[in-house]
Structure formats: structure tokens, C-alpha cells
Symmetry: C2
Subunit: 557 residues, 2 copies
Amino acid sequence: MLAVLGILSLAAVRTTASLWPIPRSMQSGSTFLKLPSQFNVTVSVPSPPADLLDAVKELNWYLANDQLQRLVVGRGAYDAQDIESAPTLTSLMLSLEDGAEVNSISAEAVKAIDIRSEGYQLDIPADGSTATLVANSTLGLYRGLTTFSQFWYEYAGQVYMTSAPISIQDSPAYPYRGFMLDTARHYFPTTDIIRTLDAMSWVKLNMFHWHITDSQSFPLYVAEFPELAQQGAYSSEDVYTPQDIQDIITYANQKGIDVMLEIDTPGHTTSIAASHPEYVACNQASPWATYANEPPAGQLRFTDPAVVNFTTQLFGAVAKTVPGTLFSSGGDELNIPCYRDDNRTQGELNSTGLTLEEALSNFTQSTHAALIAEGKTPVVWEEMVLDHNVTLSNDTIVLVWISSANAAAVAAKNYRIVQAPSDYFYLDCGASEWIGDTPEATSWCDPFKTWQKSYTFDPLANMTDSQKSLVLGGEQLLWTEQSSPTNLDPIVWPRAASSAEVFWTGATGPDGARLNVTEALPRLHDLRFRMVQRGVGAIALQPLWCALRPHACDINS
Amino acid sequence: MLAVLGILSLAAVRTTASLWPIPRSMQSGSTFLKLPSQFNVTVSVPSPPADLLDAVKELNWYLANDQLQRLVVGRGAYDAQDIESAPTLTSLMLSLEDGAEVNSISAEAVKAIDIRSEGYQLDIPADGSTATLVANSTLGLYRGLTTFSQFWYEYAGQVYMTSAPISIQDSPAYPYRGFMLDTARHYFPTTDIIRTLDAMSWVKLNMFHWHITDSQSFPLYVAEFPELAQQGAYSSEDVYTPQDIQDIITYANQKGIDVMLEIDTPGHTTSIAASHPEYVACNQASPWATYANEPPAGQLRFTDPAVVNFTTQLFGAVAKTVPGTLFSSGGDELNIPCYRDDNRTQGELNSTGLTLEEALSNFTQSTHAALIAEGKTPVVWEEMVLDHNVTLSNDTIVLVWISSANAAAVAAKNYRIVQAPSDYFYLDCGASEWIGDTPEATSWCDPFKTWQKSYTFDPLANMTDSQKSLVLGGEQLLWTEQSSPTNLDPIVWPRAASSAEVFWTGATGPDGARLNVTEALPRLHDLRFRMVQRGVGAIALQPLWCALRPHACDINS
């Protein structure tokens, strides 16, 4: 039986170039199937939720419009004979397991991260009889539909696949699979975010970490604090209105993606000074390099009770408008000289007798209490547990970013971890320094993080067995000092799909072998071309010559 | 007088953020001017050529449609008061110097590189009286119109500028200012090339070096050799037809840009084997790394008289269809083991008694003779003069690419030079290795070449006084192993504008100071935003916060 599996998995490598992330368990064949012009998807779910029916419509849209020719020499023509003799698959039947609750995809997508159900079973017989997709939730069905949609190519108007029979049992290795976008260094119109969410859904990412504000701008319109965006956004155009935010969250949730907002505090808050200068220490102070990691300097005066109150109110006001259970309060790169040289901060410390660290802990406890009161689990950057002596609730989740080496230290403190290390996952690295008056300078996070680099990330490196369950997953991140809508798609895709597979599939593929870049490259080409067909301007990974000839451009080929 | 000039040049830095490349001689003030809804451009040229009239229409289009708000805090609103009280400039008068020949821009653009006339004088009075643009050729007028178009911002429907009076006397420091695009690793539709030509014209680049074929594909349709594209292009869609090529050249010439085609030989020719396998040695031989710098291996059997004849005919057939005077025969990265292990090549050498180098010289003399017969000056990559013992005509132009350090060796051989060094000008560097099965590998030309790096290039480094005149100029280059239409704009722009200024303005700016990145950055931001307004997706250089605050993000700010 093992030998047979071995043969099957070789076939799988050859014929299932289309799946990303690769399912955790899969058997596949080499029979071609084609679709009729009217493909029938039956939703055998009682009172099916509207977003599940929309997902079926979306599947049919992709089947009809992807028009992706297979990446082989000759493209679709290479398959012409096999297509002609292929059986026709006329229908796909969706159903839930017995006893499964029927909720909308959206409702499932925003459940607490540890109780989400994303698994599914997909069977596509080789004889044209009905394919079946079964899951324990509508979210699982949505993941299965996504897998199903990736099998199909088109040639001369005929939609077909190459690898029946298919039997897939799949579920994610990690519950948190994210992508972070910074909309404060540059503003991204809603349409760019919607397109990014689409691409995320194609690779089963389930968390949009929205770093929405920072020192450079405050594009988040908050009904209770309208002045923040009115004064702190780049312009009145560069604002996310409450309607924009609801539209984005609703769209994301329907695509199986939760949204985690981040209002980074107490650092990275210069933009708050535009409307509340009294709340911000070292506001645009010079030299900025003394007071911040990048310009402009400016941090909340968290020793001031008015600032604690303001931030707590702000967090509560925003948290109550979003359905997800995670909310990030930030907490990275706190600059100490900023407070040392701020008379008001020093005055507060003198009058209260608190240390800066004690005041920071009070501030964090108050702001996190506002999140917890709204049912949110607080999320922080690693410095909050590694560099500062802040009292946090035990279930706080920590984003590891400075270095992958720091995850072990966070785990040692028994916090749950999201892996977002700059040495693997920072999509902005490699463009060298953007600070002015620095000819030829490299940046702190050069070189460029290739998809190969991120693909080799080991989520459980340096974890003891008992710590492994602390790793919730991870995310690739786009900080936007040098990015804007003009380069969003090529700088993110397909690279951000790399960690999507690492955290969905885990350490080993369906053939039992460790994930490796050599096996992955043809599939990633396929994904990239499918993304381009769907309107996402993903960057090319190799000359087309190589993309059409799997492994011909490997180093030892 | 020097003191006054000093003050003027400080003002110039503050108020002429809009010009790129900066003129070689300029005086400017700080008076605002605005345009009426109907701006009058008078072309005082006898029988003005159609492309000059088109250029005037283009100017009016940009004036009406750029709608670029100035990059200051508050954007256009910052200027509202100054706009209101500004005099109105109602007209611009174009004329040629006494005795100047009247030719079309297109005809001027394809003159021999050493006799082109691109200079102009532009005066914009501060009182609203007629601005004047005078040149010795229509090409000079076109350059002046380009400069004129960069002064203008828009706010609340009003087009205005900030720095009258203006007096500019300008002409390029170097006659060759290029950009190279590789359309063989990836194909680029005509629309992408047209858009790129537009952007080139905005920064006064005057040479489109079109690396049109390579080992991966042969997208050039040649009437006499239709099989080359029919078999060697990626697909029947991925072909430049004779009409496409004429359309592109015509468009380029009208924008003051010459086109230098390159058919790279005898290396980089695997794609010819698709239709003529008998002409190609080590065709897709394995391991490719033994036989080529990148996959696939394959080089013309230049020892074979049939191949010499074919290549000579091919060069003649293509050269006769293009109006420019430069044509590149390539000649880079010739792989010797490919010929060592090729029985046919070794047989030819044995039967003729020639060495490989002698045969290469014969091949090159024959193919270059075909170019010269069509009135072209041959252009080659540096190996043809540094690594090989090839007889070349004295006026051959050499592209220095491997390293900027190699220019001196080429100059020592008394060849004219185009500076295209990978260590400054390769736009593709920094994305790391694209060869498969190489996790975490850096590429030969990492790191990323920032605009700052290319901007600090010294065209005359290591040249003796007598050698300096050999430097015709230079170009930035996009090799497209990892580039395609999805990332063309952001990977090229605004970086390729960096060398456009180095080779137009030369070592020193109009204030007499050495070009430096600190002065340049606000102007480059301005150019980038204008490009985006005109539909070219140039990448952001800094957070918008920095772009709106010149020098606030400098390292010591």
C-alpha cells in the first residue's frame, strides 16, 4: 500500500500543478475531465446562506472566465487530444456533514481563531459521475470550492482538468494564515484592498491584518473622533469611512477572511498630533533619528491620564464596529529618549512616582480592557513581552517580527504566537534605504525576501513539544514606505502565497515529503498565471520559457 | 554677481522642483503664473512639420490633463492665494534660429548620434508677456516643450506655475541617453512599449535600445525569415509584426527617440533552433550551466558558412527596415565549452584550419558588413573587444555592462562607449536568484540598484582627458527574467530617470554644484507623481509624508 501511494504521489506531482496550497492529503490520477457549458453545482444544504450561494456563483464565474491555458510547451494545444476523449463532469454536489450547524461563511470566518472549521473533503471521480464536496461548515465548503476552482484549464473554449480521479481530505495545519497591509505610509483605495482580499481567498489566507494607522497618516474615520482622520489623513480623499470599513470587512468575511485591525500605540502615533498635539511627545522632533526608527518622530504621552482615557475610548469605539475577535494594539519600536526629553512626561512621572514601564503597563491594561470589553483578544508586537514589563492577559497573542530567532523567547513566556519575522516574511525588504541623503545605503532588512526564502520557513523552529501549540500560524507583511497602489500586486503576489502554503499545508506535503521549492515552483507558476488571468498583476518568477518547462531551469537541469 | 547667482540658485532649488532632468543652465524666480483656459501656442516655423504640431497638441493635452497638485503640505490649497494674484501667461511662441533647417522631429531624432541638435532656449517672463522657445531644430523645440510642460501644477481647475521668470539655455551633456528593454525573456505588448516611450520622452531619453530576441524567444517577425518568429516566438500572439515595429519606431521618433534594435548573436540564440536546429550548437544541452549563463543553452554555429550567410542576410533584412543609424549585433556571454563539445563546430575548424576566434572574427565582419551596407553603425557588448580578438570597424560602439570598471579598458582600445554597467544601471537586480532549486540564493547582480546608486554614476570615471570624448552616454536596462507587463512600470520608473539626468545634465547642475541625491529627491518625487498622473505606474520612493515635506526625511533632518 505504501508503494502504491508512492506511485500515486509521483503522478500527483506531475498532474496537479494547479493546486496552491497543496492539500494535506490527496490522491490523484491522470484522467482528463471536461465541463459542459452549463455546469451544475447542487447545494444540498438546508436554507443555504446567501454567501454560500454567492460562492457557488463565484466558482462558476472562475470556471467560465479564468481561461488559463496550461503551462506546457504548446499550451492548451498540447492537451487537445486528451480533451477530446475526456468524460464530461456534469455536476458537483455540496453538503454538510450530519449535524453540522448551518451558518453563513461570514459568521464562520469571524469565529474565535481556535474554533474555526475550515476542513473539507473533495472527491472528483474519473468517469464523469457527480463530484462531491463535504465539510463540517460553510467555511469548509468555501475552502473546498477554492480548491475545486484551481483544477481547471481552458483551451479552444473547452474547460478541462487533467488529474481525475481526485480524492482530497484537507484542513489547515495552522488556524492563523494572514497578510498584513500598511495603509498609513501610503493610502490604498478600497478597490485595491478588495482585489487583495480576492487574491488572499484564492490561497486560503484567512486573516487580513490591517495596519490602518501610523505616524505618517491616520486614514481611519472614527465616528466618535472624527478629527483624527480629518486632520491626520493625507487628505480628505485618503480616508476609510465607516462605510468603507464595513464594506471591506463584509467582503472579506464572505471570502472566508477575518479582519484584524491594528491601531498601533503608543509609538507610531505622530498623525494623532495633527488633531491632538497635546497627546503626543516629541512630535516631529529633530533629529528624528534620536526619537524614532523612521521619520516623523512622535509617540503618545501614555503617562497622561487624558491620553490613557482617549486611547481607551478610541479602542472601544473602533473595536465595537468590527466583528472579528482579534484586535492589535501595536506596541512596537517604543522610543525611550522621546519620553526622556519630554517635560510633560517627566513631570507626570515625577508627580505619580511611577516608572515609565509602570505607566506603560497601566496604559496597556486600560486600552486592552477596552478591547476585552468588546470581546476582542488583544494582539501585540513582540517588544511588549520581550522588551517591556507590561502586564498582559494570558491569552494575548504576540506578533514576532524583529527576527525569527525571537519566537522561542516569546514561547518561553507562554504567549501564543503569530510568525511574522522580518527575516522571512517582510515583502518590502530589498529596495534599499528610502531615507533621504543616504546614497548607496542598504536598509536594515535587505536583502529581498524571495518566495523561496519564505517558503523554507519552519513555523516550529526552536520550539519544545509543549510550546508548539502556541504557534497559531503566521503572515507575510507589506510595509508601504516604498509601496503604493502602483506596485501593490507585483510586490505582494505571488510571494505572499508562499506562507499561505507553509501555514495551510504545514511541514509536509500530501506525498509525505518535506515541502521544497523544487516541487513547489511549477505550482506557483500556475497560481501566478491564474492570478494574472483574474486581474491581479502578480510578478513573473522566471522567463516564460522556464514556466512552460517544469524543472528545465533548475540549477542542475 | 556671483552672490546674486547664489541666491537665485537657492531659489531655484526651492521653486523648480518640477524639472527633470534639470537644465544645464537656468535662472528662475518665485513669481506665480497661471494659464488661461485657452493657452495659445504659436508655431512660428515655416511649413511646420506635422509631428511638431502634434507635439504642441500633446503639450496642451498635458497642461489640461496632468492635474498634478504640488507636493507640499496642503497640496494645491497651499498655493491658493499666490494663484489668485498671479499674472496670466497667455501664449508661448516657438521659433527656430535663423538659418535652421526645417525637418520633422522624427527626421532629427534618427540623425547620426553625433550630429543631433537637441538644445533649446526657453524664456518665461514673470509679467504674463509671451514666453519664447527657440532652438536650432524641431527636436530642440520638442525638448523645450517637454521642459515647459513640467512647470505646471493644478489646483481647483486652475493651471499655474511657481517660479517665473524663467530663463533656460539647455542642451544635453551626452548624445546617447537610453533605456534598454528585453522583450525575449518576456513579451511586452505594443501598448506597454508605447507607454514606456512616452515616459522616456518626458525625461528626454533619446534611445530605445530594443533587445528584441534572445535564447528564450524570437518575437521578431522578419519577412524574409518568417519561420524564426513562427517557430521561435512564445506563441503566435507574442510576435512583433513588421507593422508593430514600424508603429513603435514611428511613435518613438515623433517623441524624439531613436530605436536601436539588437539581434543578439552568436550567443543568446537558442530560439533560432526552433526553426533552424542545424544552425545552433548545444541546443538546450544539459547541464545548461556548462553551456550558458542561464537556461536554455544554445549558440549559433558561426564556424558554418551557412550560418554566417543566414545571419548576414538576417541582419541586412532587419536593418533595412529601421531608420536609426545604430544597430546592435550583441556579442555577450559567448560560451566556449558549447563549441568545444559540438562536433560540427570542431569539424569545421579542423577542415578550415581556423581557430574559434578567427572564425568569430570572420562571422562578425560579415554580419557587421551587412549592417554597414544599410548605413548602420555596429554596436556590440564589451566582450567583443575585451575578451575576443575580433576585427571591428573603428567606429563600432561598445556597450559596457559587466562592470563600470571595464569602461577604461574599452576606452584604452579607442572605441566609443555607451555606459550600461550592471553595478549601477541594471534595473532587474535585487530580486535574488530565479534559477529553480536554489532556495535562499542571491543572484550575481544583487543588491537592488537604487535610483541613488545610478544617480551617483560618473560617466567619465577613470578616463583620461583624451578618452572622455569616447563616452557617448549611457542607459539603464531591464532584463526581463523576472519582469513582465505586470511590473514593468514600477520596476522601471522613476529609476530609469536617474541616468536620464546624469547623461542630460552631466556632472553639475545649473547652480554649478555636483549633482547630488539630496537636491534631486524632491524633483524626482515630483516627476514620479507626474508620471502617475499621466498613467505610468511609477513606484513610490518614500512615504507620502516625506514627499510632501522636502528634506524632512533626510538622514540628519
